[in-house]
Amino acid sequence: MTSNLLYKELRLAAHPNLFIFALMGPLVLIPGYPYMMVFLFSLIGNFVNLMYTRETNDIYYTTLLPLKRSEVVLGKWLVLLVSQLVTILFSIPFAFLRLRLFSLPNPVGIEANVAFYGFGLMIFACFNFIFLTSYFQTVYKVGTSFLKGLFFATVLAIIVEVSVHFPMLAWLDTVTFAGQLKQLPILAAGVLIYVVAMWGAYKVSAKRFRQVNL
């Protein structure tokens, strides 16, 4: 059923911008750029996607299929998950390429290193929980849900981009092998926070959606 749901989401419900905004990884090739934008662009893709969902009456269609209401939520949850994994995985080769192409560090903010991906997962986690649970309270207030989620995600992104300029946190900005090994706990924390937030987002969204009048 999960594969059918994902197939439906990608074949019928998805807006092309979902894919475009998930493929912003090459931005890490820009010598000086706030690389956290890679993650924020991915959030915009999901916002446009749910706007399109509303426009196409996708929630009605899906609810009338032989599915439980919680599986309607699962479909949208899967799209968030897959699009964000694609964002991360697609950007990794470009992060390596950047190291080969440019020797100078990114003057704007954090490098595309292990800590960067850990913080990216935290940004996704924060956004997903707020965005999805808010959306499934009504299934039509997409803009409000997005702005709520985006606010916290942007604040987190700004904190990360600014913090690496403080000498005591410079270890977060290194791209050496040994330096990135030290950043592994940030990545682990990101993964853990992402898993917990996604679990919570699904549970709360499914509970809220049960009460929605379509």
């Binding site: 197939y7 074949r11 996708d58 299929l65």
Partner: protein, 248 residues
């Protein structure tokens, strides 16, 4: 056997209440759900499909409690919600390609047969189909996944008389073997005169009368004026039950 039993369905909105509505849909029958705009017809249909959570009441479909068997009940249900079109920019064949994956009993040969029978072009986008063709497409999907219960919300509203007549012919064909039923909400009562076996009449969220069509019409002959001799039609009955007088 009843394919659908609705018992004491109640839904409270701030400005509207659907109150203790109960009725049955036996196999092989077309049941007309009538009432004026805003009477609660769509609310009933949405409530029995769990599109809106109810405050009280029970829905039994195919002799199973719907909420506990939602997936298996929906496998055998075909739904057309009036005025709601899915994926207008998508081609018919793309929607079918996705939809059929969700149904255990999908019959591709039957689907191809109904496409031809209803003159549906699978390469057309939904927005390119006329209102009547959209309803026919949804009926073709439902018939292809072996639906037994068809729930139609105002399927003939906004259609020309020829298309309406054609749909009614299709409805009669659907139920002719006696194993499928249609619950059909409308305010176009002339359609029901032609095909309904029984009528469920809703007024301001309350059930006024549920009876076989002839019994229903006979019951409301009490609304006739003393000088009238002809039988009141369903439309006359609704107008007399709901009509308001304005004195400027």
């Amino acid at each position: 056997m009843n394919l659908l039993e609705v018992t004491e369905l109640t839904k409270n909105y701030p400005t509207f209440t659907l109150e203790n509505v109960s009725f049955q849909v036996p196999a092989g029958k077309i049941i007309g759900l009538i009432g004026v705009n805003g009477a609660g017809k769509t609310t009933i249909l949405k409530a029995l499909l769990n599109l809106i959570p109810v405050d009280h009441g029970k829905v039994t479909m195919f002799e199973k409690y719907f909420l506990e068997n939602e997936q298996s009940c929906k496998q055998k249900t075909g739904v057309v919600l009036g005025g709601i079109d899915f994926y207008k920019e998508k081609k018919v064949k793309d929607i079918t390609m996705v939809t059929k994956r969700f149904y255990d009993d999908w019959d591709e040969a039957a689907y191809q047969k109904f496409l031809k029978l209803f003159s549906l072009d699978p390469n057309k986008k939904v927005k390119e189909l006329s209102a009547g063709m959209r309803v026919k497409y949804l009926i073709a999907l439902a018939l292809s996944h072996q639906a037994k219960l068809f729930i139609f919300d105002e399927p003939t509203s906004g259609l020309d008389p020829v298309s309406r007549d054609e749909l009614i012919e299709i409805f009669l064909q659907i139920v002719k073997n006696g194993d499928k039923s249609i619950l059909f909400s409308t305010h176009i009562t002339s359609d029901l005169e032609k095909c309904a076996d029984a009528i469920v009449y809703i007024k301001e969220g309350k059930l006024v009368k549920e009876a076989p069509k002839q019994e229903f019409i006979a019951y409301f002959q009490k609304l006739k004026r003393p000088d009238e001799t002809a039988m009141l039609s369903l439309e006359d009955i609704m107008v007399r039950m709901e009509g308001k007088h304005y004195d400027f």
